[in-house]
Every structure is written in C-alpha cells, then in structure tokens.
C-alpha cells in the first residue's frame, strides 16, 4: 500500500485520539516503527493490521473507522492540500461527483505509483447516483471523503455504503442529492492563499 494511505491513518489516529493511542495501535499491530513515510510503499498486510488494531482498540467498527478517516482527510487543516486537490474536480458537487471517475488517473498524474480506486459513476435522473468502486474494502474512506466534500460544496445529500462479495470485492455508495445549495460551502480559489 502506498505510504500516503498509511501515513493518513497514522495522522488521523494521532490527531484525533492522541499520540499515546497511536503508540498502542502500533504495538498491537506489531509495527517496527511508529512512523509511516508518505513517499514509501508498504506491504498491504501492514495497512490491514493497522486498521484492524485501530478499530479494535478504539472500539469502532471498521466501516465507521474508515469513514471517519475519510472525513478527517478533507476537513483537518493539516491535510488542506488534499481538500484543495479534490476541489479542482469541479465547480459544483455534481461536477465533483463526475470528476471522481478521473480520481484514479488524477492520482497517477500526481504520484505515478499511487493506486487510488477506479470509480464508476452512474447517474439516475439527475439527483440520484450510484458510485461503484473496487478498493479492497477501503471503500468507506471514500464515503467519508464524500460526506466532507458535500459540506465543502454546501450540498445536502443522503449517502449509504454497500459491500458485497468476498472481502467486499464489489463496493458501492448510493448518493441521493437533496439540495445542491443547502448551505454556504467553503470558498475555493484556484490560486492558493500564501501563508
């Protein structure tokens, strides 16, 4: 698994539950180091072990843990870069949903060895969508990202995650768009504000 994913899990647990909890997770997952490097690649089994350890220790269902992780990635100030990169997907939430079909290729464009899920969007009558993906049961992360992005755009949506097949081989997220401009979204300018 790409280090960026593992590093995300590390930052999420550390920022949300504290460094001590992260140390416990590492010990439980039998990690040699408590630090993942975002630019290195790790064995998939390691990622799996960390997720399992974290969900056990935090007494949180795997699906919920991953969803929270996805939400954190978009909303935490530390990972603002990701939020901005996702916002390049489009001007409206619907544009953004359609841009998810490019997610895999956009990821590759930025980091050639990054393997983001291939996503297929189906639109049913303008306000209802089915997002199909195959990401070795990491799909709930996408759900969390979508929830946070809906807030970004100020859209009101109902979403649900479904998994079927062995190891959740077929994952889907159903999206019901109730209102596109329910609330004031967060602002986004193409040019970055220099700090």
């Amino acid at each position: 698994m790409h280090g960026l994913i593992n590093r995300s899990i590390q930052c999420f647990v550390r920022d949300t539950y504290g460094a001590d909890r992260w140390a416990e997770v590492c010990a439980r997952a039998k990690l040699e180091s408590q630090d993942f490097e975002a630019l290195l690649t790790y064995d998939d089994a390691l990622t799996d072990a960390v997720i399992r350890a974290a969900s056990e220790l935090l007494e949180k269902e795997r699906v919920l843990f991953l969803e929270d992780l996805g939400h954190y990635l978009v909303t935490h100030p530390e990972s603002d870069a990701l939020r901005r990169l996702l916002r390049f997907g489009g001007e409206t939430f619907v544009d953004f949903l359609h841009s998810l079909e490019e997610l895999h290729d956009r990821g590759r464009l930025a980091l050639p060895d990054l393997d983001l899920p291939r996503i297929e969007m189906r639109e049913h009558g303008g306000s209802s969508f089915t997002l199909g993906l195959c990401w070795g049961d990491l799909g709930p992360v996408v759900l969390g990202v979508l929830r946070a992005m809906a807030d970004e755009y100020g859209a009101l949506v109902l979403m649900e995650y479904h998994a079927s097949g062995a190891h959740a081989r077929d994952e889907a997220i159903t999206i019901e768009l109730l209102e596109t401009t329910h609330a004031e979204g967060r602002s986004f300018a193409l040019g970055r504000v220099r700090r």
């Binding site: 870069a81 901005r84 990169l85 930025a110 300018a189 193409l190 040019g191 970055r192």
Partner: protein, 372 residues
C-alpha cells in the same frame, strides 16, 4: 454589431477563390468558446472582451478603449497601428497590459475581413499560476476544454509532494547523522573512531579484565605542510595510506583508531613489553617516512609517538592513560619529532631510540611540570 462572421481566411491558407462564408457567432458564443478574447473593430477600438479577460482588469472598462493603448506589443514588436496587426493574420502574438500587473498574454490574431477588424484569442500561458491568485479566478473562468485547471492541479499536487519529499529528506539526513554518531568507524580511513576507542578503553578498564596492554598516541609530523602545499585531497590520501600502514604494522587483535585530524591511537592488546612496543613504534615511523605518492608527487610525513602501559596503573583509568600517552607524545614532538617516548611509572618519560637504547627525557616545563 452583436457578433462576427468568421470568414475563414485565417492564416491565408485557404487557397485561391472566394472563401465560403462562415457561421455568424454572437458575442455570447464567443465568450463561451474564448473567455480570454478581444475583438477589435476596424477603427482600432475594442468592440468586446471575453469575460475572463475583463476579470483581469476589474473596474476598468476595456470596451471602447484603443487596443494599442491598452496593450503593449511584445511580439511582433512592429505593431504600431491596427493595420500592422491585421498584416500578421493567423500569427502568434505576445502582449502585456500597459497598466497594472504586467501579466504576459499570448495568443493568435485572426483578421475578420470586410472591415470588421480582428479577433485576438489569448491565454495567460505560464503567468496563469500568478494570475489565478491575483484575480481570484475559478474553474468557470476557463473553457471546459482548456487544460489550465488540470495544470494548476498538477502544480499544486507536485508542490505538496515536493514538500513531503523535503520532509523525508530532512528526516533521512537526521537519521544519517544519528547513525554516524553511533558508528564506530572513521569514514575517511575505515579505522575505528574515538567513540570506538572510548568503548574499548572502558572495557579494558574493567577490573575483571586485568589485561595488560600498551596505549600509543601517534601524531603525524609535517602533515600540515602536505595539506597546505598539495591540498586536502593529498592530505586525505596520506591519511588513508597511514591507516593502511598502521593496520599492516599491528596485529589483528590490536585496535587502530583515528582519534581525529592526523592523530591516531593504537591499543596493543596483551602486550606491555616496552621493547616490543618500541619495535612496533620505530617500524611505524620508518614506514611512514617512506614518501607517499599522490598523483605522481611525493608526500613526506613522519610521526611522533607517545606510549603508556597498563602496568603503570594500579587501577585502570582511561583518561589518565590517554593524558600520559599524550604527554609522552609531546615529549617526542619537543625532542625533535619522528621519535618515540614511553611513560614508565618509575622512570617518567623515556625516549626510546631506534636501537632500543633508553635515555631519560630532561624535564621541560611547563608541560612536564605535572609529571608523576
């Protein structure tokens, strides 16, 4: 006028005969297709601007202004009047606003014929990165087929990755420094370093060890001259050769340390026989005095050596031993270099000749004032 007819003569590549009339494009269509265009009328005044171009000069009304007063021509640089511009129909142009931030725009000029003037379709080129921030441009300011937004995405992704990569390099550099600190090897010569020596002396000082050994402190003579005249590369070469000689002249169990600069320490294990140690020391001096070739030029050094013996001390004390070896070394230096002096508890500092003849060193204050 509400729109323009594209007459298809752009580039003059349509060949002979009258060109068939093109479609009439209303201004709204021009705006959608070319958000950064300027339509200049036959009089040289701006008839219309695309919406994104208007955003580049907020509060300024471009329509009605003279094109050549709004823009400064960079390429072709012969444009003085509208006719000059029309003569460059179908060619690449480069221009900049005369007022305000000097974003460079580039694009193409297409003459419209029939006295309708020309259309300039422009792009921000590379200055788009600055411009999107300066003018608060959004995705809708670029046509959907324009890959500018993708380019901005890529730039931002790359800079985020670069920042991460810099952090990684910094951490690796920190780890390298930490590892080096923990290392026992001198990187230049491959000998053990001072840290390794401290460890070894600590072990030897353990009362349970009761091993008898000799501690030699060696300092190169004339090394500074080599460095000064032939350069540091020559100096490094000499240090590596010295290391090889020291390893060759000692036994496997002995420890050869580069203690820093041109200083070396030899721990001769299981040996505190003055005659044996002197033979080793004299042999080392002899070998070091053989010229060392660096790029065909001879480097000449020698060595001063001071030795102390573990049998001098009731209880081993590494720092005392090092200090006594150091005093013996300086006695060698003061005695004229290229010689070997031993500290012996009952006799004090004793210079040993090459033939192993023993002669006491006359006390030379202040360094020897503190001698035992």
């Amino acid at each position: 006028m509400t729109g323009v007819a594209a007459n298809g003569t752009a580039g003059g590549a349509t060949g002979a005969g009258p060109a068939p009339p093109g479609p009439l494009l209303p201004k709204g269509a021009l705006d959608l297709l070319m958000p950064l265009h300027v339509w200049v009328g036959a009089s040289g005044h701006i008839e219309h601007c695309g919406p994104t171009l208007r955003k580049l000069r907020p509060g300024q009304i471009l329509t009605g202004a003279r094109l050549l007063e709004v823009f400064e021509w960079r390429r072709p640089n012969t444009v003085r009047v509208l006719a000059d511009l029309l003569a460059h129909d179908g060619e690449k142009v480069q221009l900049a606003f005369r007022d305000g931030p000097r974003d460079t725009l580039r694009g193409i000029v297409v003459a419209l014929g029939d006295g309708q003037g020309a259309i300039l379709n422009l792009s921000l080129g590379i200055s788009v990165v600055e411009a999107v921030g300066r003018y608060g441009l959004t995705g809708t300011d670029f046509a959907p087929f324009d890959p500018t937004v993708e380019m901005l995405y890529l730039i931002e992704a790359q800079s985020a990755i670069l920042a991460e990569s810099r952090k990684l390099n910094k951490r690796l550099e920190g780890a390298r420094i930490a590892a080096e600190k923990q290392a026992f090897t001198d990187t230049l010569t491959g000998l053990r370093n001072r840290r390794a020596m401290d460890h070894a002396l600590e072990r030897l000082a353990d009362p349970h060890m009761s091993e008898r050994f000799g501690l030699m402190h060696l300092d190169l003579d004339y090394f500074k001259e080599v460095n000064d005249t032939l350069g540091h590369a020559a100096g490094d070469h000499v240090l590596r050769q010295v290391a090889r000689i020291l390893l060759a002249e000692t036994r496997r169990d002995d420890m050869v340390v580069r203690a820093g600069g041109d200083e070396f320490v030899l721990i001769c294990r299981n040996c505190d026989d003055v005659a044996v140690l002197n033979r080793i020391a004299q042999r080392i001096i002899e070998r070091l005095e053989e010229p060392i070739l660096f790029e065909g030029r001879p480097c000449r050094v020698s060595a001063s050596i001071g030795t102390t013996l573990s049998s001098n001390y009731a209880a081993q004390d590494a720092s005392q031993m090092l200090s006594d070896a150091d005093r013996a070394l300086y006695a060698s230096k003061d005695g004229g270099r290229a010689r070997h002096t031993v500290f012996i508890r009952d006799a004090g500092l004793v210079e040993l000749a090459r033939d192993a003849g023993v002669r006491p060193v006359p006390p030379s204050p202040p360094r020897d004032a503190a001698a035992h």
